[in-house]
Amino acid sequence: MGFAELHCLSNFSFLRSASAAEELVEQAIAYEYEALAITDECSLAGVVKGWKAARGSGLKFIIGSEFHCPEHGCFVLLSRGQQGYRQLSAFISTCRGKSRKGEYDFAVTDLEQATLDDCLLLWRPASSLKGAPVAAHALKLKFKQRFWLLAERGLHGHDGESARQLGVISQQLDCPVVASNGACMHSMERLPLYHVLSAIRQHQPVSQIQSQLAVNGEQRLRSRSETEQLYPAAWIEQSLYIAEQCTFDLGTLRYEYPAEVVPSGKTPQGYLGELAAAGLQRRYPKGAPEAVAEQLQRELDLVAEMEYAHFFLTIYDIIDFAAQQRILFQGRGSAANSVLCYCLGITAVNPAQSDLLFERFISKERNEPPDIDVDFEHERREEVIQYIYHKYGRERAALTATVITYRLRSALRDVGKALGFPQAQLSQLLARLDRRDSEEDWHQQLQALGLLKHPMGQHLLDLTEQIRGFPRHLSQHVGGFVIASERLSDLVPVENASMPDRTVIQWDKNDIETLKLLKVDVLALGMLTALRKGFQLVEQHYGKALHIRTLPQEDPAVYAMLQKADAVGLFQVESRAQMNMLPRLKPKTFYDLVVQIAIVRPGPIQGDMVHPYLRRRDGLEPVEYPNDEVKAVLQRTLGVPIFQEQVIKLAMVAAGFSGGEADQLRRAMATWKSSGQMLEFKKRIVEGMRERGYEEEFALRLFAQICGFGEYGFPESHAASFANLAYASAWLKCHYPGPFYVGLLNSLPMGFYSAAQIVQDARRHGIAVDAVCINQSSWDHQLEAGSYRETIRLGLRLVKGLNKQAAQTILQQRPVTGFTSLAQVEATQVAGTELEALASAGALTSLAGHRYQARWDLTRIGQQLPLLATAEEASAYELSAPDAMSNMHEDYAAVGMTLGDHPIALLHKEGRLKNCKKSTDLPSLRHGQLVTVTGLVVGRQRPSTSSGVTFVTLEDETGNVNVVIWQETGRRQRQQWLHARLLEVKGTLEKHGEIIHVVAGRLTDKSTLLASTPVKSRDFH
């Protein structure tokens, strides 16, 4: 006899099921079930994955959901047809909408009231019920022949009693019984994990909650023969009867684009064609190059064929709004760097300027929706989001979900706690796991730490492995919107996000991709804010209107600046690794910048592709290709694979992957760290390439590169969009440094550098910087562009402990001629603590002499002291002024930077640093020379790509010194550098062209020379 399992939870019923939807489907196929329903608790989050796994297998996949009510038991709704699916989705959305994130609100009366005429209802009565309650009669009346009782046998002592009770209710309601296993596991072997999940849910070790754990592993899928032994045949037959009625297939779900982006009377394709033609005219006023025009036509044809016109029009509508509001934006993604997007204004990357393969912009073979992310100014993205909500309504637009899954560390921590490992022991294990290898060799690492000697050690290893990749909760995607033509909740359940007024759908981007729904990514980018502010300052002070798309292209002065690694504050090329690469790669064209951005990434570095590329670029190595196919893939990057799509293409042409296999590879790359799927591909790549005459070593390097791309997948189209912004920021810095720095400072926090480091860079570029002053500063930093030199007046936003509202109050009440006394400042009624913050920042120095005195004078009377109050006038007391060192400390404490002497300069003056070279001394010294340098530790980096090397950046009064600490040196002297704020390094100077660093020999923590921390290191692991 056949069987259909109609009540089954996947691990998207968070911490309640120990199997993934795919595993359940696979097991159901193996047991030759007729059908399987995934019925997660008030959720459809797992159904797309289950449906995908069942597709083409012959197993009918049914969509349902369960709802709990402590008084009455568990209810399972199954969707019968498409209408039923929509009703179920809407019902889940209603239950979720009444509760905060991650919870739902359900009462039996909801089932009576909702429209569910195309859904079937199964009910497992609560064990406390001895007969059918009134509510059950009401449900029977409503659902009539669409109502069943669920019988689930757990092989418990009370099974007989439960069956008797079910019989009574069945008679009272005249309602058939259907057999189910109520599966939470695909196999009994998952029982330990099931227990651990329960323990995690209850925040207690398994041994402490035994009375609440499942006593056996019978909540699992059972083979048909087992099922037949446990249930009467009639109950099993009912499962088949129900399955037969459920005909809805997720693949038939039709998504309809919002209609309002097309003016009435026009077709979407026609309107898109019009916009594209107008854009082409605007972009090329003197006539477009023939190749570009032809390309546009090809793209439009493809869009028509794939019926994607609505998608482009939706994005166009959003960016059109942003353009009208003067919000800077930039599109990226495989489809963004097309002539079409260039003409629509979605991107400013000029197709004539780079050599991108535009055919790729929509993957016809993959039949996937086009991918366009649009970045907006980070401070103004909310305006765009509100526009979307306003235009389409909250019922039609919601954010995509991001599934937060268990990663190695979170898995170890939670499983460890559930097994009763003490917190300290877990901390020790986690601290001693090498971060860089942690996702790969963690089994060996933990074994090396002696974990297996612990009685629970093997369980910890096994269960951590099992739980990795399990979803933990749904979060909101950073900006991926799904917009529907009708109510979105008819398509997919919508629930509340943690942020107020945000809703999120229950599917993530992979689900959306599977079902070919349209997603619009509305993302935030700080650099766009900085550029817009910079451009405004240029217009204000120099009367020149600038825009990213109108900046002069291929400016040699800009590339000359980049080649010198003068890149502090520039988009994407400001990190230390990028700065090291700039003088080596010496970008001369836009495409060089595209390569520059893509090459300093884990993929090319792990694949050891950087040096071959540089050697070929310098003409030190011949550029050769084994055949024309490979040449077509790698020609633009001198035969060395740099971009993600190149390695995938290479897998096809060199290892013989089919289009479908290459697509699987691409997907596996994105998730391999959590799913571990990549190793399956290793053999196929290496063998495929060897068969085709490639050396194994090259094949292994290519595989390493593919792994390196992993989560940091970096396709050429992204690099091109980023390069455009990198160029724009470099152009602004090169030609209008004042506006550039002020724009950047007013957009913080963003990027790699603190305000202090940016200000120092500005001063090194000859720009004067004036301190925060109550009478001169505004909230933002300001540019004062005199005829002699540009000056930055630091703004009140820098003052720690002063909020914007208080600052505005002070500024509104500031007399035109400025405050003349502290009493006037106090009269603004701003809180004392805010004024004290201003005093310590030195902003009141012009009124009180020095910051200590200003703070003293502004300090309000503490407690009333009747006995002492009669004494002398308190404020008459004069405090001594701070010395240079104290001033420096106060500067850092109050505004995070100093405009006075640098701490290192002060220590030099006091004679406390001997024989130390400064940053500016280093270029004149010879390679290999022994040097001593001392500086504030402003950055520690341990990139995942370097073999145990730590990079430390020291700052002195003249600039930064890059220190390289090799693994062994670092390990031996860890205590000296790990927490040092002031570090002395004796080492060897290494010079390669303009790249200079000190390879550390002896390290000494000199932090005690500083009384307290002036600056906080920015550490990146």
Binding site: S207, N216, G420, A424, L868, A874, L978
Partner: protein, 462 residues
């Protein structure tokens, strides 16, 4: 002679730990806060590796891979401080405890006993026996405390305001005005300070100058001996207890000797990870004060008895004392006249007659496996909850049985043994049924999937 001394003991718990386990001194050891996961105390080897107090525990692991870590327990540290006070009280009358890491000694009161300040301090030092400490004297209690806590300072005026007990916001305020040391404050008119910065600062200065008392409450000995030792690792058997128990018993001997007292009952308590106790009473017919005797008796008790759970803390406690010279008068007393024998005495008699193994109590434990639910416990343990009524009241050790002789009369109940109790990966499954044997008795039998055999575990009929 300065009127006050302050004894600062920044690492009392760690010192005690190392005293109990001398081998630890050679390794890097830290105590950490369970709540914040920060290092609270660190020994010399840890400091040498670069570990500092206040550092995150995860950083400490990075600096010393073989680091030994223990949880810092303020209550335990306070108890150690009280133990020390009990000991010092033999020599110094006026002691006042300061939270958990220091105490004041009023030297003024001891002028008649000690010729000089030096002599008094030497006597004090002699009692410390290897503890990390700093003793400073001062004209006021607060001055002595401040100096002891910042040993590099010569006078209270040198002390950085950050090292005082002033509230954090006030300390920050002072620093941000450049008022870095107590000297800065002392030079300012107190009325000005008061009106600007409040009562807290004025009171602090008044206490420092002795114009206002610190409000100390002086130590009163408790009259009982109670000392604890933290064990370096979980101890499973007697061997692991030997050294720390001996140290505690030596402490007891010193305590009794100094008071010219004896005892007939020493209570030894072991605490496991969940703070559950296992108590062992060492009773003696006659009063005793020698550590060696206590030790021998304790050894006899522990060799007979298994530890119920791995122990983490060991406590020795004596509540009843008698004078060292007194004879034990109770020897002549007899219990024979008592009609109602107390339960404890009855159980003792039964155990003596029938043997220890024959007498035990029953308790209902956590879990679902029958042997876990029904546990044998020492006789006299009160029954706190009752097991499900349909299960056999008494369990047997599972015995193999032939299924052929049984007639099954219930539906099967499947139980999986708690997998965390063993290291095997495979689950151990049992299917229980109620069955009738050929004599008509109802038994509770199960099929063990692993051994593929049937077992009987209990009878449902009396």
């Amino acid at each position: 002679m300065q009127p006050w001394a302050y004894l600062y003991l920044p690492a009392l718990q760690l010192d005690n730990l190392q005293l109990m386990h001398p081998a630890l001194s050679e390794q890097a050891v830290v105590l950490y806060s369970d709540a914040s996961q920060l290092v609270i105390q660190a020994n010399g080897a840890a400091m040498e590796a670069g570990i500092q107090v206040g550092m995150a525990l995860s950083d400490a692991w990075v600096l010393a891979g073989d680091l030994q870590v223990f949880v810092h327990k303020p209550a335990f540290q306070r108890q150690l401080l009280e133990q020390l006070a009990e000991q010092l009280y033999q020599h110094f009358a006026d002691l006042a405890l300061d939270e958990s890491h220091g105490m004041w000694v009023r030297l003024q009161a001891m002028q008649r006993l000690f010729a000089s300040e030096d002599a008094a301090l030497k006597a004090l030092q002699a009692q410390l026996n290897g503890l990390t400490s700093c003793i400073r004297t001062g004209p006021t209690a607060l001055a002595a405390q401040l100096l002891a806590r910042s040993p590099q300072s010569y006078a209270p005026g040198d002390i950085d305001v950050r090292q005082t007990s002033l509230s954090a916001p006030l300390k920050q305020k002072l620093q941000r005005m450049g008022l870095q040391t107590i000297d800065h404050l002392q030079r300012m008119p107190s009325a000005t300070l008061g009106t600007k910065l409040g009562l807290e600062l004025v009171q602090f200065l008044a206490q420092l100058h002795g114009q206002q008392p610190l409000g100390l409450s002086f130590f009163q000995p408790s009259g009982v001996f109670k000392q604890e030792a933290q064990l370096a690792a979980e101890v499973h058997n007697w061997n692991g207890l030997r050294f720390p128990l001996n140290r505690l018993l030596l402490g007891l001997e010193a305590y009794l000797r100094s008071r010219q007292q004896m005892t007939r009952c020493v209570e030894i308590t072991l605490f496991d990870r969940q703070s559950q106790q296992q108590r062992v009473r060492v009773n003696m017919a006659e009063g005793e004060f020698r550590a060696a005797q206590f030790y021998t008796l304790a050894q006899l008790r522990f060799e007979q008895q298994r530890l119920s759970a791995p122990a983490l803390i060991l406590r020795v406690e004596v509540r009843t004392f008698e004078a060292m010279q007194a004879q034990a008068a109770t020897l002549t007393e007899s219990t024979s006249g008592s009609a109602a024998m107390p339960l404890g005495a009855l159980l003792n008699v039964l155990q003596t007659r029938l043997g220890r193994a024959c007498i035990h109590g029953v308790a209902v434990g956590e879990g679902w496996l029958p042997e876990c639910v029904q546990q044998r416990v020492p006789p006299g343990t009160p029954l706190l909850k009752v097991a499900a009524g349909w299960r056999p009241p008494w369990l047997l050790e599972p015995q193999p049985t032939e299924i052929a002789g049984w007639q099954l009369i219930s539906q099967p109940e499947r139980l999986v043994e708690p997998w965390w109790c063993h290291q095997e990966r495979a689950l151990r499954i049992r299917d229980y049924v109620v069955a009738r044997d050929e004599h008509g008795r109802r038994g509770w039998i199960y099929f063990d999937h692993q051994s593929q055999g049937w077992f009987i575990q209990g009878w449902l009929d009396g």
